[in-house]
């Protein structure tokens, strides 16, 4: 390349960079000033394109690869920033104010965070969410695994069983919640009335309603977990199973000493999946009980949100009680819990896998 054309490119590149930058900044300034000029969007795009072409044309050997890398990563990073990073930062910011979804008047600092832990209803939500997670992590995995064992045996019509166990997972949580609400409130009450004369729906008291949510959740989720276990179980090498058979291992021994250790990584994945999804439980909770149920005395107050789990509590705080900033603060707290739990879980299970 001749020196002249390099210089030409440098000039062109610089001009593009500077012009692009100016257009970009100009468009943003116009936007922030609330200008009614409609061409500012086009201006922004042209500015961005100018900068990109300018950066690409910039005559450097040393940094060329780096520039190209950044340019190609840009769309993804940009999308990630717009959909995840910026909302997260904004969310944390709003949680420090008295934002009502429209605007905020005061900067409150950590007031939302301190007052949310003084709210017995919120503490209750945390507790029953944890309880729910523990129940489900165990039950969904056990049920899913048993179903998977069933569906990898030599039964007739396996395809049908697999499909039918998985089917509930294809129905949305809201629809499912309303179907089961009907079952609990109309069908089951008819039956219990015939048997014992008791007409109360199980959704009308907190403890039974909570059990109801667990049942529905297992029904919805076990099929999905089953599919993952089936994949794991079918990948256990045939020669190992054969060898164990020759050595005289019975079915139980094969299950506990061969199959389960061989699918440790699947168990990790499934535990992780059930843990986080149970934590985030929202739709079934909302459709089935909408958080109803009472607790006579918890931390000295009468609670009216007996089956309201964390996600629903956050939603109701923001939407139904119209307290967006508090809801946001709770959501930030929720995010932290989830992040910590997930990290710990992954770390622990990874270690186990290596040992096995």
């Amino acid at each position: 390349m001749s020196g002249q054309s390099t210089a030409g490119r440098k000039v062109l590149s610089l001009i593009l960079l500077i012009a692009g930058g100016c257009l970009l900044v100009g468009a943003l300034v116009l936007d922030f000033m609330g200008s009614p000029l409609t061409f500012r969007g086009t201006m922004l795009i042209i500015g961005a394109i100018g900068i990109i072409i300018g950066a690409y044309l910039f005559p450097t050997v040393k940094h060329h690869r780096k520039i190209i890398n950044i340019l190609f990563l840009f769309p993804l990073l940009f999308t990630f920033a717009v959909t995840v990073i910026i909302p997260l930062v904004l969310g944390v910011f709003y949680s420090l104010t008295d934002w009502n979804g429209i605007r905020f008047n005061n900067f409150l600092g950590l007031e939302n965070y301190t007052s949310m832990f003084k709210e017995p209803a919120f503490i209750w939500s945390i507790l029953i969410t944890i309880l729910f997670v523990v129940f489900n992590m165990v039950l969904v995995n056990v049920v899913g695994f048993l179903l998977a064992l069933l569906c990898t045996s030599n039964l007739k019509g396996l395809g049908f069983f697999r499909a039918s166990y998985f089917l509930p997972n294809l129905i949305g949580g809201i629809v499912l919640g309303y179907i089961w609400q009907f079952v609990f409130n109309n069908v089951l009450t008819e039956i219990t009335e015939k048997i014992s004369g008791n007409q109360a729906s199980i959704l009308s008291t907190t403890s039974t309603a909570f059990a109801g949510i667990i049942v529905v959740y297992i029904w919805q989720y076990a099929g999905y977990i089953m599919l993952i276990y089936i994949t794991g179980l079918t990948q256990v090498p045939k020669d190992v199973l054969e060898a164990s058979q020759i050595d005289g291992a019975n079915r139980i021994e094969t299950l506990f000493k061969i199959k389960i250790p061989m699918i440790a990584s699947t168990i990790t994945i499934c535990t992780f999946l059930t843990l986080t999804s149970a934590f985030k439980q929202f739709d079934v909770n909302m459709a089935l009980t909408n958080g109803s149920g009472s607790v006579a005395d918890f931390m000295g107050s009468y609670l009216t949100n007996g089956t309201q789990m964390l996600a629903l509590n956050i939603y109701n705080t923001a939407i139904s009680k119209d307290n967006y900033a508090m809801g946001q603060a709770k959501a930030v707290f929720f995010f932290i819990i989830l992040a910590v739990v997930s990290l710990v879980q992954v770390r622990i299970s990874n270690k186990k896998e290596v040992e096995m």
């Binding site: 795009i45 072409i53 409130n185 729906s201 109803s292 009468y302 119209d322």
Partner: protein
């Protein structure tokens, strides 16, 4: 070669990025373009967010008529059926996509939009109604479009057959007596239960926690009497005597209600059974008329399209008013470019042509005095009678803290119905729950 490929790829990427972004800005300018051309064509485009999805078709018809008359297009955007309207509006606000006219239900909604709603005090319709929402600081910021009534609805046929004059029910004793009489004649009247009362918590909290609770706040009071709502707003206090009387009435409902619906019924079942003539009373207000004549029309016809009426919830001797109010209002967004056009549209809505559609087709009870149309709604007559007699109280429950029924009081009614609380337990629990609701 490699360089060429890289250039090609970069080019594609830039182009696709440009195309996406360009598409966005195109549609943006397209939007403003259409409204520009609309303005030059003699009219602009108005957007109205309606909170009553059941009258969507009628409002669209109204918009069509308005377009024929004035050339102004009105887009009706209906929400409802569980959609969180205020939440959606807040999203619109953040996205710079605010409608020109939108619905506001409870009073806290108006407070959220403080300073962003147009004061309509100088409009001609204001003097024609006493149902407009008037804010002390910002003037008339809510346009009323219908009136609804909360009262104890009854099936006149059944009361006649049982020989009960609804006018004779004036207090707790006569109410209990009427219930007992009806209960003893249940079989010959074909009743499943005397009263259709549901205290289901998950999806009917609004009936108990808002509408029935409203009677504690307002029944028997003058329209501007704010005694009990003031008490409530001041840290969630209640008047124990009045609440006890109120609780005794609820206890009566618990006793004489349909046991299969009391704790776990749904709105649909409740209204269907009333429309089928299986209950003498139902604890729902005038809005069920629309359901009875549409969804439940067959059952209602089979039951003889019986006449309905309303009596006050007489939990104390001398309570003689039902509660009527505009359940929600239309407000104009002050930063809209079409404020004047929106004002014209609302004025037009209060006038004869529009009122005919709103009353006769949408089944609204007109809040305007000049309106001469009568709705075909079964409850229209009884409502008009009560209004003419001046025996109405206001809906101060609209001033309650947001989410009170859903998150707090609905559950207390549910526990009472399930038998977990007695009358005193109901009062003290209500007291405790309201205090914690107003504290937090």
């Amino acid at each position: 070669m490699k360089k060429l490929l890289a250039l090609l790829l970069t080019g594609t990427m830039v182009l696709s990025l440009g195309a996406c972004g360009g598409g966005g800005s195109d549609s943006g300018s397209g939007d403003s373009g259409s409204s520009d051309s609309g303005a030059s064509g003699g009219g602009s485009t108005l957007r109205l967010v309606n909170g009553k999805i059941e009258v969507d078709a009628q409002l669209k018809k109204l918009a069509e008529m308005y377009k024929e008359e004035t050339g102004v297009t009105v887009e009706i955007e209906s929400m409802g059926g569980g959609v969180d309207i205020q939440g959606t509006l807040k999203g619109y606000y953040q996205g710079g996509n605010m409608p020109d006219i939108f619905v506001n239900g409870a009073i806290p909604d108006f407070e959220n939009w403080e300073g962003m709603l147009v004061d309509m005090s100088d409009q001609a319709w204001v003097s024609d109604t006493d149902q407009a929402y008037v804010d002390e600081e910002y003037g008339t910021i809510g346009f009323p479009y219908t009136v609804e009534a909360i009262g104890l609805s009854y099936n006149k046929n059944i009361l006649d057959q049982a020989g009960i004059d609804p006018a004779s029910i004036t207090g707790p004793d006569s109410l209990r007596q009427a219930f007992e009489t009806l209960d003893s004649k249940k079989d010959e009247l074909g009743l499943t239960a005397v009263v259709g009362y549901c205290a289901e918590v998950a999806s009917l909290y609004w009936s108990t926690g808002n509408h029935i609770f409203a009677n504690y706040l307002d029944a028997g009071l003058d329209r501007d009497d704010t005694t009990y709502i003031d008490l409530l707003s001041d840290g969630g206090q209640i008047d124990t005597d009045r609440m006890t009387d109120f609780a005794e009435m609820i206890q009566l409902f618990n006793e004489y209600s349909d046991p299969s619906l009391l704790v776990s019924g749904t709105y649909d079942q409740q209204i269907l059974n009333f429309a089928s003539g299986k209950y003498a009373f139902v604890t729902q207000g005038s809005w069920i008329g629309a359901t009875m004549t549409s969804t439940d029309a067959e059952a209602y016809e089979a039951a003889g399209n019986f006449e309905v009426g309303m009596i006050p919830y007489t939990f104390e001797e001398g309570i003689d008013t039902i509660l009527t109010n505009a359940p929600s209002w239309w407000s104009i967004y002050s930063e809209s470019e079409n404020v004047d056009a929106a004002l014209d549209f609302l004025q037009w809505c209060s006038e004869s042509t529009a009122q005919q559609i709103l009353v006769e087709e949408a089944g609204f009870i007109s809040p305007f005095k000049s309106c001469e149309y009568v709705a075909s709604d079964p409850f229209a007559q009884t409502l008009t009678d009560w209004q003419a007699a001046g025996k109405t109280s206001a809906w101060h429950w609209l001033y309650m803290k947001e989410g009170l029924a859903q998150n707090y009081t609905g559950q207390v009614f549910g526990d009472f119905a399930a038998g977990n609380l007695d009358v005193d337990g109901f009062v003290s629990t209500m007291q405790q729950v309201l205090q914690s609701a107003y504290a937090g």
